[in-house]
């Protein structure tokens, strides 16, 4: 497995772990505030979980696309920097 792939997976894992931590915080805070369990608390946790799942999926798709685009652009930039055969100024 390439180093880039390992790095990307670490970044993705870190992002998902961050999402999970952020997602747990509201539930803990709700319990601390002392609002009775039920409508508001249930809805709050559900909303945050659904939002977190959506964000995780779109992030995963976006990270894959961004990495692919970065590789493509890096290749383009490298080939643009290389002197062509007919270039009389080429060293």
């Amino acid at each position: 497995m390439g180093r880039r792939m390992v790095t990307a997976r670490r970044i993705l894992a870190l992002a998902l772990a961050t999402l999970a931590v952020i997602g747990v915080a509201p539930a803990t805070a709700m319990a601390n505030v002392g609002i009775p369990a039920g409508y508001i608390v249930g809805q709050g946790i559900r909303d945050v979980l659904v939002a977190g799942a959506f964000a995780a999926i779109t992030s995963a798709i976006a990270i894959r696309g961004l990495r692919r685009m970065e590789r493509s652009n890096a290749g383009l930039a490298a080939s643009a920097a290389m002197p062509s055969e007919g270039d009389s100024n080429a060293v």
């Binding site: 915080a25 508001i40 945050v48 685009m69 930039a77």
Partner: protein, 145 residues
Amino acid sequence: MLYELASAGIILGLFCIALVSTLIVELVVAVLFSLGTRGLGAVALVNLLMNPLYNFAFLAVIYTFGLGGESFSVVDWRWLVGVTTIILETVVVVVEWRLLFWVTQGTAGSSRRLLVFSVVANLVSAVAPFAVLSLGYMNAAGSWF
């Protein structure tokens, strides 16, 4: 069960609306900045990454500290929304700028140019909904059109 599904659907729907409207606004700004096809693609992907994360973080902060709106909030509601928006928008501007520069590898402009784009695009996408809402309000009130 039906209510829970509907509630989840509403949140997903709101996130999709926010994502699509932000994409439209930022892509229009990107066209005005002449970022090119590769630049437009990068802007779309960066927004696909950042917009749901931004909204998720916003939702988490609001539910954590402002649960129940004005009635039950442990801190002042307007202060909470204002400070959260400013902090998150600043983070988004910086991350989008660095991501765009990394992804485009200089094919869509210099770092400075991308920073200006990121600031302008996020400012416009943050202000645009309020502008549309006020236009709608004024229209409904009969003062416009």
